[in-house]
Amino acid sequence: MTTFDTVVHLVYLAAATCFVLGLHLMNSPGTALRGNRLSAAGMAAAVIATGAVLVHDHRMTAWAVAALTAGAAAGAVAGLVTARRVPMTAMPQLVSLFNAVGGGAAALIALGDAVQRSHEAATPGVQTTVTTVLDVLIGGVTLSGSLVASGKLAGLVPGRPVTVPGGRWATVLLALTAAGLAGFFVAGRTGALGLSGIAAAALVAGVLLTLPIGGADMPVVISLLNACTGTAVAMAGFVLESSPLIIAGALVGAAGAILTKLMADAMNRSIGAIIAGGYGTGDSGPAAAVGAGAPVRSITAEDAGLQLAYAHKVVIVPGYGLAAAQAQHETVALARALTERGVQVSYGIHPVAGRMPGHMNVLLAEADAPYEQLKDLDEINPEFPGTDVALVVGANDVTNPAARRPGNPVSGMPILDVDKARTVIVIKRSLGHGYAGIDNELYTRPGTAMLFADAKKGLADLLAGVRAYAA
């Protein structure tokens, strides 16, 4: 090993250390930003070291240099612009988009490597062909699957489960085709062309697998696909015999797997059932008619404002409706007005509130909600019995007391004990169902009052109501 090689390998090792330490620093909000910067610094070092290798080896053709720099520049600009411009509520679909292109890049590496090897006399070893096939398969499924997931969250693809006629059989057929082609490729019978066939099958399979999954399950799917991209990148690392790719890919594979498990647990869903699809109605508009079945007490914004203004302790429970209406600023403005009146305000945040775990925290933080007021499920539940008003903004299934009883779709799901508060005010557009598709028993309880409005408008009216008593 020359001195140059040694230095490059040490830089790669340092970069890998930065990735691990960076993730570790993301453990707490205070150090998370530093963690991300450390990880970015490691990435920059790895890229510079690789650049130095390319210059040192002096093997690249002028066309290759042009293709690499032009592509990288275009991608970097596209990434920067979208990442800076996109509103916070659209964050999950953007992460999914970045995940898609990452998976695509990993698959293209294996494809490009196979194309190059087809011009060489030496036949690649089994470890190369097997990892090449795995990279193309996983990367391809991730690319198209993440694009569909992103489209579903952005509303470009219907959020409800879309069943393709014969979709299951088509997926099985695709899997068999891909397996057959993979066998031929590993046996050395087909070159890059056979690999392209595998890539095409993977792309179609990604779409067929993601379409039948409802919008509610998308966070879990995105997390799963994130893990897949990590694995695909690690496979690309095996193909190229590059340790930074193997290390970082495996790290992300593990991260995605853990997150997927946590999310699925919090939603009381099994990962298998989610992949099977067909669950949930997705992003439903104003759905069921108001007042079906048991009587519901509705309340005006003025009365609700009065209740809030004279409460001692208020817990705000934000949900998907708040994220959809982009009402985070109104929520925080209301909380601030109440705090100024001496009301003790906190936010009770369910692990899967919003569109991704922690998404609600990001939205509220964007609107400058003090971090200390954001409480998670275990912290806030003991506080509900001493709470005067629980204000539920666009949350549904995560507050349904039916979860405590067996025998219904939300059974066993951890919920916020909103019904233990003295009074409950629910801001909601209608009595429509949540993703679980069942009535929320909270709404028909005697202590609950419904304020039928869009979250943004309802909160603005409430704020006006509170201000009226602040004079």
Partner: protein, 98 residues
Amino acid sequence: MSPLLMADITVFLLSLLVGFEVISKVPATLHTPLMSGANAIHGVVIVGVMLLAATATTVTGYVLVLIAAAFAAMNVTGGYVVTERMLAMFRPHREVKP
């Protein structure tokens, strides 16, 4: 099995275990930024694209490098910038207005 492959498999397995250990300690609040941060880390695929570019000698190869470079660069830059934006919003020690 070559010693190099053996070493690669060892590194792969140990990295998986490190990932499980480091990540299982992150609180739910930070899950979205974490997913985004992990998403940025697999942007290391750009290093792979650079290594691929070093071997490309055909038109097909160049086209693949061009697309892969655009994809990977978008993943890595966008991933870090978005994570930075999310995390910059957490202000742990802000004063609550009286």
